[in-house]
Symmetry: C2
Subunit: 317 residues, 2 copies
């Protein structure tokens, strides 16, 4: 485990708790001290931890901020150039590009656990963080399926279910359901506070809900949104188009039915997606079309819930 | 109590629970049946309930949807033309205009409890709904302060604190902290669902928070937003201006620091507003500048927490 913040620290705890042999390293002295005090095998020597992983053919998990991921990948490329590698960053295309440039011989599978809080650092973590969460494990044209299965097993071991997607499909989806929410929350919090003390005194449920993630550390939000620029721009334009049409309608006819009904329908779509009785699906990981099978499952909103021998077992609504 | 839905039904329960003599009426047969079954003095005859209030000099609370408030005000004007009157609608200027036109001799004080859920109807209500909530009681140039004190006492009796504001100031504030959140939630829910099954499968905390109020009944959201058009348009333009600038920055330099930092600062402003140690304030309701005193308190983010004899007792941060 490289990086022992909220995600890396939680994953080190969770993987250890299910009996995996784990070790970690981070540049954060505070996180090393805190994790060591709890008995974990951790150090501040990232290169030594990577070398050990290379020697033991261990799965390396990069759980560092996006801003330093290239620096760490350079170390991977020089110290453990053929290791089994995954990451937990919230954008996947840019990490894939970096891996291809800086550590091209690694057996890499991009990953993203859809879990987290507004807090950060080792002390904010806990072994139960991933329970019930979706964990994207990327399947590209050249993804090695044995490596993919290793990453999926880790995610399943710590209580998540696995969603197989390409980096591109992942990035488009998180632009909608994570990056746009963060940016709309920021705009709402700014417009609310610009109104002075009266709006603050009257703020209740809808404002508290709508601004909650605006309290996230700005550098984390910048990392994920700025790092997903290509997928985020068209989604922002969709949102701006809807808001502009709404503004025009309010100014002219005074009516907001189109916007409000579309939003209500969207809220129902989320509830319905969670209410479907799923159908079982199996993907033979040694079949020639296994990558297509995994991606087709993910693109239909499905999930992998177990990996047994050479078969990924899942369900789709 | 005219109207026995979420707010009216909760207020009838809460006022009865503190020993007030209450009766109610509504056009909803279902709500009459449900409230009567719980022992409340209710009927489907709105005119009879209003006549009784006029005869007994009782406080009439209009808790009906904005779409029917003019119809009910016509009845008030004909059956109880000089009654003590308040309402609980989420916009205040348009109701004030209607009262001046349809029931001009009533002793009217506009009201708005900042409480509610996405549910509706008698069965959704409960006596504790207003505990800890802000309850705006409007102070206009011609507001009779004895009537204002009666409305404030009702709000205080059911556990709320009272915020004295003009209808105009109220409407500007709720455009920011209630109506804009509802519209942004609708846009987010629509853009999310437009992405198909993958975003729905990955949606987690930030999306769930940001879309929660998009599940509110569309006619309620339309009523409050369309009914507050004048105050809402400039607030929408502020939001569109911030989003447009953000979009431009992402497309050109790729940077989102300005947006994200402003949002983080806004989130802190809300937390700070709630963290201030308040100073006590007293307003003599029989003083010639009592209206100015009350409004000045409200405009600074303050609140009234008690009304004793002729004095409103409050605090401001």
């Amino acid at each position: 485990m490289i990086g022992l913040g909220l995600i890396g620290g939680s994953l080190l705890r969770a993987a250890s708790a299910v009996g995996r042999v784990t070790w970690g390293a981070t540049a954060s002295e505070a996180d090393v001290t805190a994790a060591a005090a709890e008995g974990f095998d951790v150090s501040a020597d990232v290169e030594a931890a990577l070398r050990r992983a290379g020697e033991q053919d261990a799965l390396v998990v990069l759980a560092v901020p996006l801003t330093v991921i290239d620096d760490v990948l350079r170390k991977v490329g020089s110290v453990a150039p053929r290791c089994l590698l995954t990451d937990v960053a919230s954008v996947k295309s840019s990490v894939l590009t970096s891996v291809r440039r800086l550590a091209p011989q690694t057996r890499f599978v991009g990953g993203h656990p859809m879990a987290g809080t507004a807090e950060s650092g080792w002390r904010a973590g806990n072994a139960a963080l991933f329970g019930g969460a979706a964990w994207v494990a990327c399947v590209e044209e050249d993804t090695e399926l044995a490596a993919w299965a290793e990453v999926a097993r880790l995610a399943l071991d710590v209580g998540a279910h696995v969603v197989p997607l390409t980096a591109k499909t992942h990035d488009e989806a998180v632009a909608r359901i994570s990056h746009l929410p963060h940016l709309l929350a920021a705009v709402l919090a700014a417009v609310g506070a610009d109104g002075g003390p009266v709006p603050m005194a009257l703020a209740a449920g809808s404002y508290a809900d709508g601004t909650r993630v605006a309290g996230t550390r700005p550098e984390l939000v910048r990392g994920m949104t700025e790092g997903n620029r290509e997928a985020l721009l068209p989604v922002l334009d969709e949102a701006l188009g809807r808001l502009g049409a709404m503004r025009g309608s309010l100014a002219s006819t005074g009516g907001l039915a189109a916007t409000i009904n579309a939003g209500h329908k969207g809220a129902q779509a989320l509830a319905e997606a969670r209410d479907v009785t799923p159908t079982g699906v199996r993907v033979n990981l040694s079949a020639p079309d296994a990558r297509e099978g995994l991606r087709a499952l993910g693109e239909r909103g499905g999930r992998i819930t177990a990996v047994a021998d050479d078969t990924a077992i899942g369900e789709v609504g």
